[in-house]
Amino acid sequence: MAARGSPLQDLITRFLPWIGAGVVLGILPALLPSYMQSIWTKFLIFAIFATSFDLIYGHAGLLSLGHAAFFGAGGYAVGVLMLHTGITSFWVGLPLGILVAVAIAVLFGFISLRVSGMYFLLVTFALAQLLYSVAWNWLWINSPGMQGIAGIPLPDLGIPSLEWNTIYFYYFVLIFFCICFYLVYRIMNSPFGYALRGIRESEIRMQALGYNTWLYKFIIFVVTGAFAGLAGVLFAYFNRLISPVYLGVGTSFLPMCMVIIGGSGTRIGPVIGAMVIIFVEYFSSLFTPERWPLILGGAFVVAIMYARGGIVIYLSRFWKQIGYRHGSIEG
């Protein structure tokens, strides 16, 4: 309903959450110890990953269980580049990582988008597992004597005087997070974004209206592949190590959990979900690391049974109630 109240109050209820988020993301981590800054960095990387997954799941309604393929491919591109050429320049690694992820998304999209529903889930799962086993067995893309690539240095930005530390890297990731968040926001509100939700709601009607629905699904599959690839590139630099695990089903499951727990088809749902999962993972690793899968699985089941719309629904209800109380939102 229409917001009345004074313009100032209106402005506050509309923008306060954004200012709050800006303060939390922009200032708070700088005041924390460096190991916590790392956790915040990881959270942002996974927020990009989850946001990309939400574009295809929450908006287009396609449930993929192979999203890690693009994430891992981005990471592997950076790792292999370092391993075989010694190039650590970010300006080579980033485009290469995204390009590899996009190429794989094009290939996988052609194969998996021939089917829909449960079959789409199974095909994407199978394709990602295929990539996992390639990474496991192909010695050329592994460091000698191990499965995976170790010793990936922080990216070389070509700025001579720059000495990386955890907070710089955090802000570096934050820039990419903001860019991705903004781009996804623009896509969501564009005719293309609405078309995706139209396809989710009624594909047959979209075709009758003149939309080539296959092409839409294919394009968004590739676009989300690019975002996931970017997240993978950042993750490889962050983690210093990339291994087949980051192509497998365990990693594909994470953004799915984050999106469902946070709230699918919403702007901040995937970000909130990523925050919850990454921080709970951190705290559980302090006290009882071996029980983390149990906690993750439990949280997922609870979210599906009792909080279908995700945490965001409760947050927005809470925020609106505050609005009512101060009389700035009416009706």
């Binding site: 564009s190 075709q207 009758a208 003149g210």
Partner: protein, 255 residues
Amino acid sequence: MEALRVDSLSKDFGGVHALSSVSFSVGTGQRLVVIGPNGAGKTTLFNVINGQLSPTSGRVFFFEQDITNMPTHQRAHLGQARSFQIVSLFLNLTVLDNALIALHGTKPSRFQMFWPMNGYRNLMDEARKNLDAAMLWEKRDEIVKNLSHGEQRRLEIALSLAQNPKLLLLDEPSSGLTRDESSEVIGLIKNLGSKITVLIVDHDMNLVFGVADRIIVLHYGQVIADGTPEVIRDDPRVREIYMGMEECIDHVGVG
């Protein structure tokens, strides 16, 4: 001029002949109503004309162009629009978003990924006209699943009209409606301009005889009668098939 011609169209589902050798043509501006008992192949006929199904044999021509193997979305760009028997709307979006999606469908802007959908001033004006005609502009911010069944039916038609079609296919536009709601739909169909050719499938005899220029009767996938409403009313074979409906046909005036 012929808007649509179907030429010995057949469609088999396994051993079931849903359509067998159906041929007819529709002139521009005509209101053709297809009737027939349940399972006569009416919806199958629509699905073949609009491209959701491809025929086992036979051809479909749209303004002289052979469209038999053309995908549905391309037929929309040529000027075909349809509504569905089972409401197929974007239930979790608002009425206005539904209309805007429909309006973008045949425009190049449908692939645009950066600028907001509701920023197109001219399309917003069109959406307003479109929803006004369906008496839904006041409800533009409602989520579609909260609308009444009658309003959803009107939105179904409004979405197909948003495409500015040359041929409109309405699959049971009055199904599940009360008498009042049904007459609103009849009014909506009657107000369509003479440039639009309309093909309707329906069971509601008020609607059938209220809007039809011509009626085709399908029975087990075959055309058994084709003519003006008067001719169809008096056709003995039609009366035989429609034993239960005989009284209905007798009780409605030809209009």
